[in-house]
Amino acid sequence: MSRSAAMLIMGVFTLYFLTPIWWLLTTSTKTGGEITSTAPLWFTANSAGTFLTNLGRLFTYGDGLFGRWLLNSALYAGVGALIGTVIAAMCGYALAKYEFRGREAIFNIVLSGVLVPATALALPLFLIFSRVELTNTMWAVFLPSLVSPFGVYLARIYAAASVPGELLEAARLDGSGEIRTFFTVSTRLMAPALVTIFLFQFVAIWNNFFLPLIMLRDQVLFPVTLGLYAWNSQISQIPELRSLVIVGALVSILPLIIAFLALQRFWSSGLGAGGVK
């Protein structure tokens, strides 16, 4: 294959991948009427002003509901992924670095957990949470999101590859406790893996749709995806929501894109782990 053919293929697909996002960006800078009346993939003369007006409307509509949704998503995904990563790392580390009875059994259960789709759990979780009257609360979305069997799987592979047994022996001889060794020495060696686990759990929670859809009734508790979904399904009754949905979609994907760009150094080295083994 020639160099120009390779560049052509990649060029064409770059358009495919970026055009929708570009469309979202340019359309966010238009008023409702301008969406259909102006050039679709370009800005208008007063784009900056309209964009700011749209943003203002987005954050003030319905008593600032959208800001609340963003905050909820940050809480569900940010705090959830942070705690989830620590929990998964500890478990994967123990499975990789210690020998104990039932180790293989636990790992096999975790592996089957990877294959059980999270959406199949949404309904039974709803039934259980409604028994303890916790549906339509933040806990109903937050608590189940903490569990990431795939995170344990990655953590185990990474701990086995990047934390040398000799180092743990040395730490033991120095009188360092097992748990202190984990938090001071091992987590540093596992850092790229931990960032990878965090990011992917963050994305999984941020994107999760079924669980909040089935658990939450109160709009104030919605994550941003469910909120935009709700607005989008009301467009036919309230047409002014259309431009809010478009600006809101743009604002809601920015945190993830920024997080991925900022942490790229870590996850691009950590991503291979699942595939190599």
């Binding site: 104990f100 959406t119 039974p124 089935i214 979904y229 291979g272």
Partner: protein, 309 residues
Amino acid sequence: MSVTSTPAEVPKAAPVVRKNRSSGAQRRAVTVFIAPFAILFLAFYAIPIVYAVVQSLLTVEREGTFGKPRQVFGGFVQYEQVFQNTAFWESVGRVLLFGAVQVPVMLGLALLFALLLDSPLLRGKKFFRLAFFAPYAVPGVIAAIMWGFLYSPSLSPFGAVTSNVDFLGGNLVLWAIANIVTWVYVGYNMLIIYSSLLAIPTEIYEAARLDGASNIQIAWRIKIPLVIPAIILTAVFSIIGTLQLLAEPQTLRSFSSAINSTFTPNLAVYTTASVPNYNLAAAFSVVLALATFILSFVFLKSTQRKVTQ
């Protein structure tokens, strides 16, 4: 390497006692490390599965038409209903057809891009890597909203195409969804395959080149066989994802009347649960989880055998 074995140089002054204490400390540490995950896994994975199975074996009985409903054991009544429910099986057939086309196309593209990124042919690799991966940051709901606008005849910037081709009509809407899913996940799968390509030692290629192998031969004979495990991993996750389709079709329903309330198995679960008929919905969930598990497990096992042969 075994970690619990006696350290090579135990100080002579503190022989047996110290060893016992340290292995006891290790046991305690293992408990501390595993307990949080184990408890959460039990509460939010294992128990819900058991609970779903239990619920699926119950049925609601009423004394008279307007009597108080109560749940009684119904055996496989719900499962009989599942198997007689043509809408549910149509939805299963629909996602299987979807997966049979979309997963190979997506992974084929991901493999092609990964090979190109790994080849000496390309400039600006960092840019392409990021550009192709960017859609992964777009949640399924948002992607469906964006593409919903792009597909719609009145709002699309490609009005010339969308006013002639009805992407949201009954014939094409499944493939319109397939395009959205492909758009989101190609870059992610590309990166997984690409990182596994990066792990191959380059000496292998040099040896092949000395033997006169071309770039295409190296890709076909060396690179692809070596990244098969990564491809299998991405395939399993794609199969799981396909059977779980929900966010994209559910969101597109406000753009397209061709998507009914039982378009995918998970939509059927949601619709049935909203009736509310929890017992039947639980039975749907159990069948779906079991089918997903079996399908990905069989796929894993069958490909593993092929690789080792």
